[in-house]
């Protein structure tokens, strides 16, 4: 089965492609750039096109499908029209599939299910990455707050950290928030 993946996020496309490969679907082509996609898709003549639901160029692609001989009478479908749970899962994951007319539902369903799982996996990855990034940012803020306390109070690092932790516990806030408040206050107050 020939599958085209249209996604401007190279990272997400890679996650999907890898998943399809693992499932034995090796005839996969990724389109990351919309320019010239019409001719390239037509030349490829895929059985299934997987698109990110939020892809801003879907209107163009639908026009292409309406015109293209290779994609004659495509059907936009998520799993099976009657399978509302599957449709809901597809929409939540953000996958939109275009299937060439005549493709058997039994054949497309596993591909879509796989795509949905991979889209979800990518979303999880991104969330984890965001969390890691914010954890890193928080650590930098805590370090800045510690340096501030060490300088202004003439104490060492463990003492500065203990002071931050106590302030956080006393006020029921996270250490990062206390550190952030301290750094912000210092920036506002300057040398006052």
């Amino acid at each position: 089965m020939r599958i085209a993946v249209v996604d401007e996020s190279a990272a997400r496309a890679a996650v999907i492609e890898e998943g399809l490969h693992d499932a034995g679907l090796t005839d996969v082509t990724v389109f990351a750039d919309r320019h010239g996609i019409a001719a390239r898709l037509e030349a490829l003549s895929p059985d299934v096109v997987l698109i990110n639901l939020a892809n801003p160029h879907r209107d163009e692609l639908e026009e292409l499908f309406a015109l293209s001989k290779a994609m004659a009478r495509p059907v936009a479908m998520f799993v099976d029209q009657s399978d509302s749970a599957g449709i809901e899962a597809a929409i939540d994951a953000g996958v939109s599939a275009y299937v060439v007319d005549g493709m058997k539902k039994e054949r497309i369903k596993p591909v879509l299910e796989l795509a949905i799982r991979r889209f979800n996996a990518f979303t999880r990855l991104r969330v984890e990455l965001d969390e890691a990034r914010s954890a890193l940012a928080e650590r930098e803020t805590v370090d800045a707050a510690k340096r501030l306390l060490m300088k202004k109070r003439g104490i060492d690092e463990p003492a500065a950290y203990a002071l931050l932790r106590k302030a956080a516990m006393d006020s029921g806030r996270r250490i990062g928030d206390v550190a952030d408040a301290l750094v912000t206050a210092d920036r506002l107050m300057g040398d006052l």
Binding site: L53, A54, P56, H57, D59, E60, E62, R73, M77, I87
Partner: protein
């Protein structure tokens, strides 16, 4: 008890009524928690609607008809109980091309501009390429109507491609296309960047052209009659607020917010108040009825408007003329729901559901079931009219002379 209504929209000025219904509290007054879902392409707005991710949508009118008829995908019956507005689109060309067909900065007679464009098209060594926002869009049909009326065959003399509204100005700036037909604020974005010059607004092509509609799945609409009525009333009240000059700045400010159009309030205010900047470094000019969101029962879903759109679909070769489809297309517009919803507000309700489109030259009092209603001119630029009773004659008379 509060009902939730999830409504999909694209970042366009004519998404104003649902946004104002939420922000000004009209939906809340009707016991509706209106949740707005923004997308970037019509394909996604309609997918969400079809698959139940949204309950209603701000949608291009012909797409509601195409979806009901099953053009390009499995048929799903949609209904339109309320029209969100008429017109509000424009045709914007590359500045050098615009200079050949019009006086940049000033509105001209669109028949003259079209005639000059026809000369350019015939003399050009390649086909001019125009972008519309969707295959099944009023933009596509309005542009084709104008081109055909000026002796340009939209199928063979030029190329018409699709670009989603938020990318139209960029496509023009990048030279991907020679002209765009899109809704506001995207023409003004192109003008402000110097990438384009507005040569015509769609109200010059048809003074009362149906534009965006409130679309719902027919089953969802029927199964929640009371909720549908309340939603229609909230949108009607939003229409009153939209046309109130005292609220112009507030309206523009709300629409400009990041979660809605995420754009310039000053630019949006121009469209809302019908002041159009045709070319950069000129003054905005007042174009009466550029956007027609409320007055004269603009929100009433005239069955004859759906009929006109079906006729244009046939002329574009999007569907072969068929009596059964023609009837189904007209049934998409639901004046009965509009009347039932708005009767309690005491507003003017047209007695008829269909009219001769383009047939009014002078203000005309029309029959109503309650209130008084005067309709002003609704003409097409070429002086033709459309009688929904005689589709085949109309199609036969629509060949290029």
């Amino acid at each position: 008890m509060t009902d939730t209504v999830r409504l999909g929209f694209l970042p366009l000025v004519d998404a104003a009524l649902p946004i104002l219904a939420r922000e000004f509290g009209f939906a809340e007054d009707e016991g509706i928690d209106l949740t707005l879902i923004r997308d970037m392409s019509w394909a996604t707005v309609s997918d969400r609607l079809l698959y139940g991710h949204s309950d209603a949508a701000h949608l291009i009118a012909p797409l509601a008809i195409a979806t009901t008829l099953g053009l390009g995908r499995p048929a799903t019956p949609l209904s339109v109980p309320f029209v969100l507005g008429l017109n509000g689109n424009a045709v914007t060309l590359r500045p050098d091309l615009a200079a050949q067909v019009t006086t940049p900065g000033a509105p001209g007679d669109v028949a003259d501009i079209g005639a000059r464009l026809a000369d350019v098209v015939k003399a050009a060594d390649r086909k001019l390429r125009f972008a519309v926002v969707h295959r099944y869009s009023s933009h596509n049909y309005m542009l084709r109507y104008w081109l055909r009326g000026c002796g340009i065959d939209p199928d063979t003399d030029v190329e018409i491609v699709t670009v989603a509204p938020p990318f139209a100005a960029q496509a023009l700036a990048d030279g991907e296309v020679d002209g765009i037909c899109v809704g506001e604020p995207w023409n003004s974005v192109a003008v402000d960047r110097g990438a384009g010059v507005i040569v015509a607004v769609t109200s010059q092509i048809w003074l009362r052209g149906v534009e965006k509609v409130l679309a719902m799945r027919t089953g969802v609409m029927e199964d929640n009659r009371d909720r549908t009525h309340r939603l229609v009333r909230a949108l009607y009240r939003a229409g009153e607020a939209f046309v109130d000059p005292a609220r112009l700045d507030t309206v523009a400010g709300v629409l400009a917010r990041p979660e809605y159009l995420d754009g310039s309030a000053a630019r949006i205010a121009r469209a809302v108040s019908d002041r159009i900047l045709f070319a950069r470094a000129h003054n905005p000019l007042h174009v009466p009825d550029f956007m027609f969101q409320h007055r004269e029962a603009a929100n009433f879903p005239w069955v004859s408007q759906a009929a006109w759109l079906y006729a244009q679909m046939c002329l574009a070769g999007h569907t072969p003329p068929d009596d059964h489809d023609y009837a189904a297309a007209q049934r998409v517009f639901r004046p009965d729901i509009y009347r039932a919803a708005l009767r309690p507000l005491g507003v003017a309700l047209p007695g008829a559901s269909s009219k001769l489109e383009g047939g009014i030259a002078e203000p005309l009092a029309v029959g109503t079931t309650q209130g008084r209603l005067i309709l002003s001119a609704d003409q097409f630029f070429d002086g033709r009219s459309f009688d929904p009773e005689t589709l085949s004659t109309y199609l036969a008379e629509s060949t290029i002379s």
